[in-house]
């Protein structure tokens, strides 16, 4: 059979067998190299486009302008500001970091919880076209919204001129008179939820498919009320999936740039915006290495959240197949 498909190269099972036994005779090595050769362009592209830039960030984050190894960039971005003559000096990067973490946390937890309920409501719907439209639109909003969302919310909720602002002020509830500001922290968080909520719906929906009907029947058969079913079966099974998804939302909120930039014109102090203004040259010269250090710090945070996501997902997949 294998002669028929491949004249000279060995069958895949043969190669993997040799690899796992680690018998690297010259012939086997040659064969495994030849088997692997067709994926070389892909690996080369990933190396050039992803690996080398990442290594460069990590390397340059620890270099001074003259190229010497240093911790100075890292300590600069983590240093708290000092009050001198009533003026805060430095510390803007640390503040940006704290704002970013806060924003990511808020827009992971609230949409994470609400999104679970909405996703459940959609998943249990019997209306197929409705499911299709919501899944397609969730994908668009979660992944490709960016600048468009910012413009949508400016049109809707800008001070006095926003369409929704006008509606609300007619009934005496102008949100801007009640401490709301679209261009400050909570305004940005409100807009972020517009892509975080669909993202949650997108990634938590498969988990409901794994929640088997027979479990509910079994629980009901043993006399459990609906509450007891959720308390002892549904919630424990879903909890890792929900928590894992929240880590992914955290990463998405932490690294979003387009929406915040377009919404606030770069005035909100969060890490991605600060990286952007360094790249745009809007800061003191000689700070390019600070940009690398900020990029490195973001990678560290995102790596941690992805590791938690992966661990929780492994736990989830034990139940939800």
């Amino acid at each position: 059979m294998s002669e028929l498909t491949t004249d000279t190269s060995p069958s895949p099972s043969g190669v993997s067998g040799e690899l796992s036994e680690k018998k690297f005779t010259p012939g086997a090595l040659f064969r495994s190299v030849r088997t692997g050769a067709p994926v070389a362009p892909f690996l080369l592209y990933v190396t050039l486009g992803l690996l080398i830039p990442t290594v460069a960030i990590i390397n340059l984050a620890f270099r001074s302008n003259s190229g010497k190894l240093t911790w100075a960039n890292i300590t600069t971005i983590l240093a708290p500001g000092k009050m001198t003559d009533g003026i805060m000096i430095g510390g803007q990067f640390r503040a940006g970091f704290e704002n970013s973490l806060k924003l990511a946390l808020v827009t992971a937890i609230i949409p994470g919880i609400l999104g679970t309920f909405i996703a459940y409501a959609i998943a249990t719907s019997k209306h197929e076209p409705f499911k299709r439209i919501t899944s397609a639109c969730s994908g668009v909003l979660a992944q490709f919204g960016g600048v468009n969302l910012a413009f949508m919310f400016i049109a809707a909720l800008n001070a006095t001129t926003g369409v929704v602002t006008k509606w609300l002020s007619k009934i005496g509830l102008d949100p801007w008179n009640h401490g709301f500001n679209l261009y400050k922290f909570w305004g940005v968080a409100f807009v972020y939820m517009y892509f975080q909520l669909p993202l949650m719906i997108l990634i938590i929906t498969p988990a409901f498919a794994g929640l088997q009907e027979s479990w509910r029947e079994a629980a009901g058969g043993l006399g459990a009320s609906s509450w007891r079913y959720w308390r002892h079966v549904g919630i424990p099974v879903l909890a890792p999936a929900v928590l894992g998804s929240m880590f992914l939302l955290f990463g998405s909120g932490f690294s979003a740039y387009a929406t915040a930039e377009a919404l606030t014109g770069g005035t909100i102090a969060i890490t991605p915006i600060q990286i952007g203004s360094i790249l745009n040259g809007n800061v003191l010269s000689g700070q390019t290495h600070i940009g690398y250090a900020l990029g490195f710090a973001m990678i560290v945070i995102l790596l941690i959240s992805v590791v938690f996501y992966a661990l929780l997902r492994r736990r989830t997949s034990r139940w939800l197949r």
Binding site: L4, T5, V15, S16, G36, P38, V39, P41, V46, G49, L50, I52, P53, T54, V55, I57, I118, A121, R132, I133, A136, C137, V140, L141, Q143, F144, G145, G146, V147, N148, L149, A150, F151, M152, F153, I154, A155, A156, L157, V163, Y194, L197, G220, G221, S226, L248, G251, S255, Y257, A258, E261, L279, Y292, G295, M298, I299, L302, L303, V306, A310
Partner: protein
Amino acid sequence: MASLELGQVLEHDHFMEEYSRGSEGLSWWRRVHWGRGVALFLAAAYFIIPFYAAMQFSLANKYGQFSLQPLTQIADAPQFLSALWLSTELAVATMVIVMGLMVPTMIYVHLRMPRFRRVMEVITILPIVIPPIVLIVGVDGVTPSWLKASQWLLALVYVVLAMPYVYRALDAGLGALDLKTLVEASRSLGSGWANTIWRVLVPNLRSALMSASVLTLALVFGEFTIASLDGWQTVPVWIYLAPTDDPRINTLVAMMALLGTCLVLTVIVSLDRSKNRNSRRS
């Protein structure tokens, strides 16, 4: 056998119990339906109100009345067409490169190196760890200046961003095929590899390739971070920089982009589903 009987007994008990608690069970269901209605209604309000508001804002004449006239002004808006052209060029280039790279690699991996899928899966998680705002810092740090001056650098970076979407779409498509049989049949009938890919596999992978292309398209047309930081005026950058004195036009373009992508993706998803259902029936 014993367990089956036990199951039947339990089922009977369950039935009896349900019967006796009938009214309570019913009220619970009513509560759930009610809760679901509220959840869906609030979600719909949150998503539709700003959308409707932005449409009302942009589709209006000078006096604030509804008008379709702004639609006709889009094409005349300064620099819009050149932004649209740049985005189109980048989308085509990205699509050609990412497909040329991923389709043969994925077919080969599915056929010969199934273990390598583990390695490829890593790329689906990397864009979360290295998001565009971080990637561009590294890319700017290592790219030679002649390439930095070229618009095609964007396409090369977009290929990296598109890889996860293309990977997922193709992986699902290839997983649903009996790849080995198709390839063996084609090869034993004497066709070469290129012919097998082009005339046997590509037609079978049509819907996977289509969704991969549409996702790539949506990505390139929506990408703002890298384009703006490298100073290229693609459509999203045009929307933001607003070289027009009329904010309605920018908002309208933004809304059209969102709506258009939603529509196209819904159609793709529907085609995919109906095709699957037909094949299951036959």
